[in-house]
Point group: C2
Chain length 652, copies 2
Amino acid sequence: MPMLGFGRIPVTDVSMVVEEGRLPAKAVVGELVPIRATVFREGHDAVNASVILTDPTGVQHRVDMTAVEPTGLDPWEAWVRFDREGWWAFHIEGWSDPWATWLHNAHAKLPESIDVPLVCLEGQAVLNRAADQATDEIQASLLRTTALMLDPTRPPDELLAAVDSIGVQHAMDANRPRDLVSPTKDYPLFVDRAKALFSAWYEFFPRSVGATFDEATGTWQSGTFDGCHERLDEIAAMGFDVVYLPPVHPIGTSFRKGANNTLVADASDPGSPWAIGSPLGGHDAINPDLGDFDAFDRFVAKANSLGMEVALDFALQCSPDHPWVTAHPEWFTTRLDGTIAYAENPPKKYQDIYPLNFDNDPADLYAEALRVLHVWIDHGVRVFRVDNPHTKPVPFWAWLLSEVRRTDPDVLFLAEAFTRPAMMHSLGKVGFQQSYTYFVWRTEKWELEDYLRELSSETDAFIRPNFFVNTPDINPLYLQDGHPAAFTVRAVLAATMSPSWGMYSGFELLEHVPPRPGAEEYIDSEKYQYRPRDFHAEPNLTELITRLNEIRHEHPALQQLRQATVHDSDSDQVFVFSKRDRGDVVLVVCSLAPRDVVETTVHLDFAALGAPDVNELVVHDELQNLDFTWDAHPFVRLTPDKPAHILRVALA
Amino acid sequence: MPMLGFGRIPVTDVSMVVEEGRLPAKAVVGELVPIRATVFREGHDAVNASVILTDPTGVQHRVDMTAVEPTGLDPWEAWVRFDREGWWAFHIEGWSDPWATWLHNAHAKLPESIDVPLVCLEGQAVLNRAADQATDEIQASLLRTTALMLDPTRPPDELLAAVDSIGVQHAMDANRPRDLVSPTKDYPLFVDRAKALFSAWYEFFPRSVGATFDEATGTWQSGTFDGCHERLDEIAAMGFDVVYLPPVHPIGTSFRKGANNTLVADASDPGSPWAIGSPLGGHDAINPDLGDFDAFDRFVAKANSLGMEVALDFALQCSPDHPWVTAHPEWFTTRLDGTIAYAENPPKKYQDIYPLNFDNDPADLYAEALRVLHVWIDHGVRVFRVDNPHTKPVPFWAWLLSEVRRTDPDVLFLAEAFTRPAMMHSLGKVGFQQSYTYFVWRTEKWELEDYLRELSSETDAFIRPNFFVNTPDINPLYLQDGHPAAFTVRAVLAATMSPSWGMYSGFELLEHVPPRPGAEEYIDSEKYQYRPRDFHAEPNLTELITRLNEIRHEHPALQQLRQATVHDSDSDQVFVFSKRDRGDVVLVVCSLAPRDVVETTVHLDFAALGAPDVNELVVHDELQNLDFTWDAHPFVRLTPDKPAHILRVALA
């Protein structure tokens, strides 16, 4: 008989599911992931449900689900950990639970002495059925003994005490009979390595590191890969584990931009690394100013030796001088006047950039993009930051990322899409392991609260956020007075709200000057010129950043996304949230008016902190190394010197 | 190349969709139905979308979609009417829109005199391409002429005026080139006859109509089908179009309930019609007290002659005397002591009822249920009210309703499930054409507002509500003081909020007495005894009910569910909403404290009333036959005599 989507025990509204299961949901090894569904049945008999996981080797694992609040909506859930990388699948089984049905009836009838012999007879049948299927002989024996104890001549309280014992409960949890088992279809889930979720990114321009200006000739000497090794030591010492480089390829000279994005470059202007391609080569070549492939390999090896991975920029666009322009004009758009289309946002023109056209010759262009990636994968790159993926077709990414996953499942892609939610969500759905976010523009309390909830519980099946505090393109308005406390707050929020965070070189030096008031860019942008820096200049945030990365490593709660809770405070300027994983609980109390002194009362949800039954908690401030004893409504005072608490919650 | 769920132009979050398209969404002939999706693309070029409908004959129809607010979330929609009953399907095509892309660029570039020759060249190409595919020769000619007008020597404002003309816009709407057309999968939708959505139900017990008590013998003479013809006249005169009868089958005598649900019946107690089955027959038989099949046929014919349909109760449960009990004990549950299980809600026992067991012998029991339905279908019954469907397996209903739809697609089923949302939703999803609702318990303003929004825009793909103001089982607490204004308010709300509404006999007589304070039942319940009534007794609501049904027939806006808007008022006791279909707009302003005088200011959303650009509206009160001229913030006074306005909005 046709079931038309509903099994004997209906199971609906299954999550974690992406696009009806046509695309995999996201998880990483060791992460705790909620799988939820609505499960219900006709009539009064008891319903139950299980998640059936199929691991990458094809072995199935059953995880019992639990009915949760609000019970009137019939929600069930199980929190699941995945213990290995690769393709998993899960389905949910709804089933009829004869033991729970019987137990409910027994509690209703036995105290009233109703139908006692029949209740005992039926209880014996369920207990013996469980015993028959028990593999543990002790449990089987306990169940059979309990069945024998269901003697209708005993007093009802004795009968109920027998079946309510902890031992019987445990034995029944393990061996509970399941009737009318009704599976859903299988839903895919891809488990990435842990770094897909938990990472700390540092972005810098190698050409700036050790770059020197020759006053005599008026020209610059570029920094090189080999000149960066010491800087890598410093970056690793701050606790970062991904160093991300802007494109390292030859830079075009046609329409090259000069300093501060001027239309005319002089001979000493190095050009934007995103204007990729020159007669020296394209996306598979290295700008000789930085070194050669051997130097690149030494750079990668040095980073790896420090526990860091190198992330390259994958920016699918070309300068007019890119070798593809002559070899494959069909990969670009030729306009009706015979010219190749440059980038435009009419009336603005970007003549230094030729966008690729993915529709003229998709097979060859797709293949070339994959070949280019493999050039760098073969040189040890396992992480790519993808430039403007939202300007290329979504199915291109779906294809490319699935091809890479097939051969190199540990390669990770970060989507740099600052655009509308539908596109950002879709890029995550088709395979980007991480995504830039709106974090840099989320500064109000209600925005941060909503965004934490959204990312941790609404879009977590397909979006893994990376909270960058700044980028070469984004000098946040919030920081443009250069106040160290504002930088501190943004670093604390990024490092604790999101398991992945990142910064672009110069943040730690409080760089903040825009080219003009209100512009969200940096003056003297490193995109168009060399910017050697003295990272030991004061003031700097190196110590704070180092400590933040240490705290992140000490706390599993901060290494995950899905177990987050917003707490109340009486001030619109004090944002409070906690994260929790196993016994590790971290509470963050952060001022959003860091230039002022803010005092308020915080209202803590002790249950969300794992301490539902106590009146006080000891919390340890990981930044200030101080202990406090807090009740559920502590008074806090946040100052420009100490604008945030990151608190370890000590559970008994 | 694998698309993995995303076409070249992604289309996601499609509605009206039920269970990923495994079950059909709901519509009726003539109803305006919104089809929505999120449609977006990479880069800056313009995106567009269409709904492709496939009608029951397999012919496809294209309906253009429109981008709607909030644009940042990329929502698109089309409101679609279905012009015939049966299985439809729809899919959505996302596509690239070269005309919109060009027009946007032309407006950005031409006024700045940028690239004028190239812009003209590209405009000509799109216009000529549209002309080539135009079937209307006049439009084709206009497009070609417009292409010729794109002469770069003309001034930019002339060029833009040419392409912005209404004629060109219309010709382009009809012949717009579509690139990169990307279809979703097909989603099913079943279009029912209009009565599935729009109906007015009246429930009564035929045995009470003309029942007489013989003082001498102390016994009752039952009312009969033939004795009801005059009553049918009166019901039709009130404007009802469905008369619904409790079960008409022989009633069991074992454990028969007496008056007021007592455990012992005396010889003159007729028993509950829901205790179905006796030696005289079961679900395919007629209680001889009411007449025979010929009398039933005359009853149906009489109702039909008055424009009404007869709805029978389909109550799948048995008295212990039902013929199935001996012929098919396997259709019941035999307990371990050898007895057949009666209904229980421990510790309560309902020994007059044997529930069916659908799992022992599903094939035969399912087939018997279908056979029983066809007995009544063959006697002209096209509407069934299904008793307690939530106590039977969901897949049973999925099967049964799809079997009936296959042979008799005009047969309608109303689900009497007062239970949790998951089950109620699922019964709608698997095919029930109408559903009882929580209306009787929604009495507060916020509850009514939320419920109207939920039913009109959240669950409308699968739930069609029927707002009963009372039932034999539900004597609403709200009405238990018997105040006529309270009855008026509930009738007005039911008749206007929901396109289907219903009442159980006695409501019009203000019957309201419970058997004990706080009980949601009727004293001397008609379920257990004869209740002949004098429907001409005063006070009664016959005139109001008649007028409500007239107003419903005069206003297409009230015959549909999906175009409803809640408006604000300053009082928690004044609920305001409007409904609209084509040019018909109805505004309801209803007191929720009908025993008091309530005065307040109402805040009208004129755009939702179809009058975005005016300052005043003339509204005509359909109950009081009065005109008012209202601005957007009218002051209203509602009294126990006139607790509600039902206003026709006169649009210019």
